[in-house]
Amino acid sequence: MKAICFYFQIHQPFRLKHYRFFDIGNDHYYYDDFADDDIITRIAQRSYLPANEMLLDMIREHGKKFKVAFSISGTALEQLEQYVPEFVDSMKELAATGCVEFLSETYAHSLSSLYDPDEFALQVKAHDEKIFQLFGQRPKVFRNTELIYDDDIASMVYALGFKAAITADAKHVLGWRSPNFLYSSASAPKLKLLLKNGKLSDDISFRFSNPEWASYPLTADKYINWINELPQEEQLINLFMNYDAFGELQPRESGIFEFMRALPRFAAEHDIQFWTPSEVVSKFKPVAELAVPYPMSWTDEARDTSAWLGNTLQQEAVRKLYSIGERVRLCRDRRIKQDWNYLQASDHFFYMSTKHNDDGSVHSHYSPYDSPYTAFTNYMNVLSDFMTRVEEQYPTSIDNEELNSLLLTIRNQEQEIEKLHREVEMMRNNIVNDTTGDFPIDENVPAPAEEEKPAPEPEPKKKAPAKKPAAKKAPAKKAEPKKPAAKKAPAKKAEPKKPAAKKAPAKK
């Protein structure tokens, strides 16, 4: 028995428009909506939609036997919702069959896992929330941006509660080992690892329609035979690819859709099943631990992070970006948050690669820029403007620690106020319920909780009768309208306090 685990990636970044240095400080809209619309609509029409239809047919035809997994980045989902809403509907339909698993990733398809652990955790949560809202699933398996993975990331992922992660089969990590097993992480042994079978995956996504390839033309029969002929103990075949392999990288007329449709039939003949990553994790036991001290990925010949961080341009841009991460997280401005997400997309750094060999042609194929230097210039101009905006919110003259403590004070006070208000309300209710008049009411209403019990007996007793008539009349009329008032109060009080606190240190 063998199992094929299909996983498809869907990602689109928000591309930046041509942003000149004159625009810095004047224009705060950074995106090339036309290009985004154009590209995602084209890919959806040529690839995503027909591929979804294909999967739906296959699932219907083969019952619950055909299963796949998806990871869709948050930015891609936003674009799809906006420009190709019919795709989101079709995805929901797929989700409803129960044969599709959604994987977790960073919302912005970012490199935060390498630079900013806090940001990483936030983005993963944001993404999972979005998936839950749209498809009603809580992802259990994690896949990082472009399958970037190392031991540190494993620990973070495990800490976030995932039971497995998906990653690549870099030769320099695997060595003699086969990717066709389930592994576990060396740094977090309970985290299972599914490794991409690079050869068999790329046969479909890159070589399928290449007539110069020795195995051309590839048929489902032949392909399943390859899998069947693998050694008996290699039971897990992970086929990970970009979803646009169907219809875009491999055009429709190459027969890629028919190839896929035929796979389950031939697989059934050899008792090869289709499992989702979660199933794989629950049914297989890891054979060994995998130590990955340096990050690997599924991109470029080197299978490392050099596609995004290979030259000084890329390093500088990423460093500058994450240098303000903490600040941005303090902000509450929605537009800043949104831009922050979009600017983190790994694609921006991918465009800045100065590789000139075969890898280089892949980079320039996807890049909207004519050279990596233009890509860098444009990105840095945008980032300069963005940083100025963050700066306006929280001037750099206050250091992060000071700012943090100020914000903490504000937040604590907010919570304190809310707590006290709740107390007031509770006490009011007590008074209302207290018909005997034994329960004392303190004049000093926002008193801390401790003072409640050991309140001095004699004094309140004197006051209590005085207040009683009022309190007794109140219950029907006053108690109820007071509730909403109490809730609003903390919000109102807290708001004006913040700017006051912010301004004070700024003056210094």
Partner: protein, 420 residues
């Protein structure tokens, strides 16, 4: 293999890029080994490097018989060439040129520059070439640029050896379309008579094919290269106390070099940036116009003109620069960005330059696209990573562009011609 080359300039006494390129190529071919090169120039000064080429001066080649003795020749031209060569040449005078103005050695005087009577010098040069071709044994004749095409043709007629002409520029580049008919006819004649044509870029190759109507099979591109700089130049440092960024234009201030686009881009950048200075180094017929333009754009306080720079001054200027820019409207090759890169200066070049075909780690813009040019300047002076990346990658890249590779290509062309 023996090659007879005709050139007009040879270092150290050069007037433009032609001399540098001729020298580099000759040396590069010599580095490939098994090359015996005779290089003819109008007027050698005696301090030319002679280790890889046998230099013959056209002004020391007799065209009329003079009865002179060895010692006299030694005292007159001994510093330039071997007197024995003079006597060998004298034995091959093929006509009576006494009607021409010749000196005491029976030689015609040459200025070796670009004088007003240039056409006459070109004609005289080809007369001399006849004597040399009869004397010097060769397998291939190689003419550098249009001034020497007639000499090459003459030598070909005398020896019957294949003629290669090397197009360093065409009159279409120099005149922006207003071609001088005399020059055009000399160029066209040379190309028609050549057995093979070498162009310094694909841009020039297209010009040769399209404007001169030459069969594409006969035209090959061999890109120019650069000589590594010596330690002294590499160690030049920016003057102390330099506080602002320096953006430099270096070249003749003529229509071909697109100086006005540089001024316009400078105006845009200075609008936004304070600590930048723009330098226009060089001289030319458009200089006054550029000074007026800078004043009109109200940037004259941070836009400087240095006048013509020569020799080491060029490298001192580059050492003080943060950006080098060459917005040429039409540049057959353009060797100066490579020199800037050697000095570690990030370069911006126009897509209409031949060198753009072989350079990756520079910024390429259209010559008219002042917005893109300004963006690039801003980015380099504002973002250190951009500067460093272009600098480091540029240094590494230009170190790979060597003359021996170009020389090997030319030798291959020779072989194909000889074995044809």
């Amino acid at each position: 293999m023996k090659a007879l080359m005709f050139g007009w300039e040879f270092p150290p006494h050069i007037l433009g890029g032609l001399g540098t390129a001729s020298y580099g190529l000759t040396k590069g071919m010599w580095q490939n080994g098994d090359m015996d090169i005779t290089f003819v120039i109008p007027k050698p000064w005696g301090d030319e490097p002679k280790e890889f080429a046998n230099i013959i001066g056209a002004n020391s080649t007799p065209v009329a018989w003079r009865d002179v003795n060895w010692d006299y020749v030694q005292s007159r031209i001994g510093n330039v060439m071997d007197p024995q060569m003079y006597f060998n040449l004298r034995d091959h005078i093929y006509g009576d040129f006494n009607y021409m103005s010749t000196n005491d050695l029976g030689c015609i005087e040459f200025s070796g520059r670009y004088p007003d009577n240039l056409l006459e010098e070109i004609n005289n040069y080809s007369i001399v070439a006849g004597v040399i071709a009869r004397t010097v044994d060769c397998d291939v004749i190689h003419s550098h640029d249009w001034l020497t095409y007639p000499a090459g043709i003459h030598a070909k007629q005398v020896t019957g050896k294949p003629l290669v002409i090397h197009v360093h520029a065409t009159d279409f580049d120099r005149s922006r379309g207003n071609v001088n008919p005399t020059v055009f006819s000399i160029e066209k004649d040379g190309m028609n008579n050549a057995d093979h044509i070498i162009t310094v870029s694909n841009l020039t190759r297209r010009t040769v094919i399209e404007k001169y109507g030459i069969n594409p099979d006969k035209v090959t591109t061999v890109h120019n290269a650069v000589e590594p700089l010596n330690e002294e130049l590499l160690n030049l440092e920016a003057p102390p106390g330099k506080t602002s960024k320096v953006i430099t234009f270096l070249g003749r201030i003529t229509m071909q070099k697109g100086p006005e686009y540089f001024v316009e881009a400078a105006a845009q950048v200075l609008h936004k940036v304070n600590n930048a200075q723009f330098v226009m180094a060089g001289s030319g017929d458009m200089m006054d116009k550029m000074i007026r333009l800078a004043a009109k754009r109200n940037i004259a306080d941070r836009f400087h003109f240095t006048g013509f720079l020569k020799g080491k001054q060029v490298y001192e200027m580059l050492a003080a620069s943060d950006v080098y820019i060459m917005p040429s409207v039409s540049e057959p090759f353009g060797i100066s960005p490579l020199e800037a890169m050697q000095m570690g200066v990030p370069s911006i070049i126009s897509k209409q330059s031949g060198c753009a075909e072989i350079l990756d780690n520079v910024i390429k813009t259209d010559y008219w696209d002042i917005n893109a040019m300004a963006d690039a300047i801003y980015s380099i002076i504002k973002y250190p990573a951009m500067y460093n990346e272009l600098r480091e990658q540029g240094l590494a890249e230009v170190a790979q562009i060597t003359w021996d590779k170009a020389g090997a290509k030319v030798i291959k062309i020779y072989r194909d011609l000889i074995n044809r």
